[in-house]
């Protein structure tokens, strides 16, 4: 499918296929994404108890996602780069607006009600922050100087803080990660990174006592010992592990997951959908799904490596790694390795806005890959 560059042609000349040059799409990514999305629809059909009406909604959303991908792929990276500060500014303004007049939903202020749909500014920030940081660091020294690193950290802290108080821990983690990945890829010194990790360790108690909400603390405690509260907060993790473990090597078969069908798995069509996958398709199914995710991330990193300027490299790398964080956090949570943080399994979980954001991000990745200049 992919007929990208010949060895040694990078930086001098690029040969593009029709798919790439005319539609600005990347065959490998497109195929892998479509495969995961199709698999996701099949899993959801089972998780919904073979309810086609709800499954159809997901098909429509996935289609919207691919439209978004296609649209974003058409935007040349240069244009994106010019827009970057403005997009970030608008994103910050909307976050502030949510804080002021956000609609209350699920105890959290996350949406702006546009009348015909609800819009989550935090979703926009997932793209706006890496754009902004890539813009900030691209034209200057690689690795960045300390003053620029400090500026970047402030730019990360502001939106992440505003999202965390919404409170939307999952999205805050993702947005922060997308920003840090830019810094990491830009060659931030290991001393900075280790210092940052140490600092985070030191800040954790402060976070625990002054920032986190009770339910967030409960989640962490439950994560540490789910059996303490088997019918309360620990129930999710216990039931999820039972579903996964009972799946075994080859699973109970599609539509045959008793844990899922008898409604034992909570949030089985959203955050815990991987438990359904593991129950019905077994270890083999999980391995294959994770393999496809790795292909997607690998292809994204490859695109980043092949990109022609620092802005594109940083942006593409951050998008790929952020996508990986989705998979890591979700799979870690469902399998009991990480605390329960509300993050969907990308392309499989039922849900709209994060799907569209992810697909838009892959559109940007494709744009980076397909708008390369043939000559430099």
């Amino acid at each position: 499918m992919s007929t990208s560059a010949l060895p040694g042609s990078q930086g001098v000349g690029v040969r593009l296929s029709f798919l790439q040059s005319r539609l600005h799409l990347d065959g490998v990514l497109l195929t892998a994404l479509a495969a995961v999305a199709a698999f996701g629809v099949a899993v959801l059909y089972s998780a919904f108890g073979e309810d086609w009406d709800q499954t159809r909604n997901q098909v429509i959303r996935v289609s919207f996602g691919f439209l978004a991908l296609f649209a974003c792929a058409q935007i040349p990276p240069r244009t994106l780069r010019r827009w970057a500060p403005w997009v970030f500014g608008v994103g910050m303004a909307l976050l502030a607006a949510v804080m002021v007049m956000g609609v209350i939903g699920q105890g959290a202020q996350r949406w702006i009600d546009l009348g015909f749909m609800r819009f989550q500014p935090a979703e926009l920030m997932k793209l706006a922050l890496p754009l902004m940081l890539a813009w900030l660091l691209a034209d200057h020294d690689i690795p960045p100087r300390p003053r620029r690193v400090m500026l970047a950290l402030v730019l990360i802290a502001a939106p992440v803080g505003m999202i965390a108080v919404q409170p939307d821990l999952g999205t805050a983690v993702l947005v922060a990660a997308s920003g840090f990945f830019i810094l990491f890829l830009a060659g931030l010194g290991w001393r900075w990174i280790l210092g940052g990790v140490a600092g985070a360790g030191a800040a954790a108690p402060l976070l625990w006592f002054f920032v986190m909400h009770d339910y967030q603390r409960a989640r962490v405690l439950t994560f540490l010992n789910p059996e303490n509260d088997p019918l309360g907060a620990g129930y999710h993790i216990i039931q999820s592990k039972i579903a996964i473990g009972s799946g075994g090597l080859f699973g109970k078969g599609w539509l045959n997951g008793s844990q899922a069908h008898l409604e034992f798995i909570p949030e089985r069509h959203t955050d815990f959908v991987l438990a359904v996958v593991a129950e019905e398709f077994g270890l083999m199914g999980v391995a294959q799904l994770l393999a496809v995710y790795l292909i997607i991330v690998g292809r994204g990193l490859y695109i980043a490596a092949r990109a022609q300027d620092n802005f594109s490299r940083l942006l593409a790398g951050s998008i790929s790694l952020t996508f990986f964080i989705y998979v890591l956090v979700n799979a870690g949570m469902v399998s009991g390795l990480l605390p329960v943080v509300g993050l969907p399994l990308p392309l499989v979980s039922y849900g709209g806005s994060s799907l569209v954001t992810i697909m838009a991000a892959f559109g940007i990745l494709m744009a980076i890959h397909t708008h390369r200049r043939l000559w430099s």
Partner: protein, 641 residues
């Protein structure tokens, strides 16, 4: 772009190095995730598969129906009645408010009931049936059946609830069931009680719990996480509890309770031949049905607050000094040991002196009985005769003789909560109180006071042995256990011990019976009040046990109720061939044993032997003139050493 190509390539390779690092990290992380998945899905697969199976399959209990309790003639004492309640399954009701309005037009639904239902609605799962009205009567059930088609989601739910058709009559003997409490849970096998809300709390209901309960049935169902039953996998039906046929005769029981009236006390009537408990009355009584429905704390307190402990099963839990009712037994002991002979006369001048004591022991009749032989001493209840007899007999021989009659040991009657009472002797005193035995204690034991205490059931058993001329019986309440399923019957181990108390001279049995007949039939007998117009011969003995130490010569009326003496009577009839042995205890009675207790016994024996209710009716109407009997006063307690 102001940077040179060389710089750009340097930047590019720097970023690429980081991309490679990131890629490697990603692969490591995925490897870590896979390790966890392998752990869950391969290593611990079996464990989780089991958990998943348990998750899915729920075992539901089907409670067995509790065995019935019947009296000896088949009258129902405890049964299971269907109790109808109206339940609504919210998810199947199109519009709750409309439904409530429309049902309210058919049967009564109070505002409070409506409110309670709506409250429950908010706190329950929508597919669970919620009670809307409990205890529907037949008419309401019929009305609802007619309109059934109008109310989808409404159902009349029938459950079996324990019911005691006799109400208060026999309530102590039968006992009652109540809600299973945390304390019950600690001692029962929880699995056997799955699905059951009630458990025997007292009386037969408690003692025969295992027999009555039956075996719980199970059905395995597949459920979802919310508990909704999806389908039944298999079913193992419950086994009903066994029915119990009691030795009790509910008519005699009722007569005994009526005879006691509002007085506190106990009546035990035994068939001396078999040990069958024909009646076992305890007053005050209570309505056991109230315990089934669950008694509020206030209502329970009300019962307790009467101060007279209505829940105590007096025939087996009440401890009373036998007082003068012990005299025939002590006399028999003295006759057997040749301490007295049938014609031995002892002079009673109203008091009796014991060596080493300044104060004399008194006879209830201040001026004494004069020269008295055994028969007269029993009939007129002379204390001095028995002071002297006991003194000469000695505590060791006396207590050894009384022991086989069952004093001081539980009768092993087949109901729960029995107390054992005290047969005083040197051994007992050393163990219980320490210290040696005094002569004075022997003397007072001889008239059934001092440390002596018995339950009415013990006294009744001893009386039955007396009536049997020594054949020992064990009282029993359950005659037959009837298999709840197959219907075949098995009798309980009925008084099989055919041991006897053998006397050196069996004539002494006759003499004792003669003495007790004299108490009833002789014009000076202490129980002469009940001796008139008897259609059968009745042997009896009265007793009066002082409660307080202070002995005022004032009128009885001025002594506070709880300090008045207990009145006792033991007897059997017909004296020649006894068919009933009866014991009556009236607590804090308005008269002595002859005035307060004897008439109760006569009413019971009349009903049992001749089905004549006249005496009972006279007694209830207050037409028995008790004033003509002198109150025998037992020895004052202050004379106790």
């Amino acid at each position: 772009m102001s940077l040179s190509i060389r710089d750009q390539q340097q930047d590019a390779s720097r970023i690429r190095r980081r991309i490679v690092v990131a890629g490697v990290l990603c692969i490591l992380v995925v490897a870590g995730l896979m390790t966890q998945m392998v752990r869950l899905q391969v290593v611990d697969h079996h464990h989780y598969a089991t958990l998943s199976q348990e998750n899915r399959i729920k075992v539901n209990a089907i409670p067995p129906s509790r065995g019935q309790i019947l009296d000896r003639n088949g009258a129902i004492l405890a049964e299971n009645r269907p109790s109808y309640q109206l339940v609504a399954t919210p998810e199947r009701v199109p519009d709750i408010d409309t439904m409530l309005d429309e049902v309210g037009e058919i049967i009564e639904i109070t505002e409070a009931q409506r409110e309670r239902f709506l409250n429950r609605l908010n706190n329950s799962r929508h597919f669970e049936a919620l009670p809307l009205r409990t205890r529907l009567d037949e008419e309401e059930v019929a009305k609802l059946a007619v309109h059934r088609h109008r109310f989808p989601g409404l159902e009349v739910d029938a459950r079996l609830v324990r019911h005691y058709p006799q109400g208060q009559t026999g309530s102590h003997a039968v006992g009652y069931v109540g809600r299973i409490t945390a304390r019950d849970l600690r001692r029962i096998d929880r699995t056997a009680y799955r699905g059951t809300n009630h458990i025997g709390k007292s009386g037969i209901e408690h003692a025969y719990e295992q027999v009555l309960h039956g075996e719980v049935g199970v059905e395995r169902v597949e459920t979802n996480a919310a508990g909704r039953v999806l389908r039944t996998l298999d079913r193992h039906p419950p086994r009903s509890g066994d029915d119990l046929i009691l030795t009790l005769d509910i008519d005699l029981q009722d007569a005994a309770e009526r005879a006691l009236g509002d007085q506190r006390g106990a009546v035990v009537a035994l068939d001396p031949d078999s040990g069958d408990i024909l009646a076992m009355a305890s007053r005050p009584h209570y309505d056991p049905n109230k315990f089934v429905r669950g008694m509020s704390r206030e209502r329970f307190q009300e019962l307790e607050d009467t101060g007279w402990q209505p829940l105590i099963n007096r025939p087996i839990r009440g401890l009373y000094p036998p007082a003068s009712t012990i005299k025939p037994f002590v006399g028999l002991a003295a006759l057997e040991h040749d301490v007295i002979r049938p014609d031995t006369e002892i002079h009673c001048d109203g008091s009796y002196h014991v060596e080493g004591r300044d104060e004399p022991f008194r006879c209830w009749r201040d001026w004494g009985h004069g020269d008295t032989d055994f028969v007269r001493a029993v009939a007129e209840s002379c204390n001095v005769f028995f002071y002297d007899t006991a003194f000469r007999l000695g505590i060791d021989r006396m207590s050894a003789f009384l022991e086989p009659f069952g004093f001081g040991t539980p009768t092993r009657v087949d109901t729960s909560g029995e107390r054992s009472g005290i047969l005083p002797n040197r051994d007992w005193k050393r163990r219980a109180l320490g210290g040696g035995w005094y002569h004075g204690e022997t003397v007072i034991t001889g008239i059934g006071l001092g440390y002596f205490s018995t339950t009415p059931m013990q006294l009744a058993r001893a009386t039955a042995i007396l009536a049997n001329q020594g054949r020992i019986v064990e009282p029993r309440l359950v005659q037959t256990i009837r298999d709840g399923e197959a219907g075949h019957e098995s009798r309980t181990a009925a008084s099989t011990p055919q041991e006897r108390i053998e006397l050196n001279d069996p004539e002494h049995w006759e003499l004792t019976t003669e003495a007790m007949r004299a108490a009833v039939e002789h014009p000076r007998g202490t129980a002469r009040l009940i001796g008139d117009d008897l259609d059968y011969s009745l042997a009896g003995k009265t007793g009066t046990a002082q409660v307080t130490e202070s002995r005022e010569d004032d009128d009885e009326e001025e002594i506070p109720e709880h300090l008045r003496s207990h009145a006792l009577f033991i007897g059997f009839a017909p004296a020649e061939d006894p068919e009933i042995a009866v014991v009556v205890v009236v607590e804090n009675a308005e008269g002595g044993g002859g005035a307060a207790a004897a008439p109760v016994a006569r009413a019971v024996t009349d009903v049992w032997l001749t089905e004549d209710y006249a005496f009972l009716e006279d007694l209830e109407a207050g037409r028995i003139d008790e004033s003509e009997v002198e109150d025998e006063e037992e020895a004052p307690m202050e004379l106790m050493p």
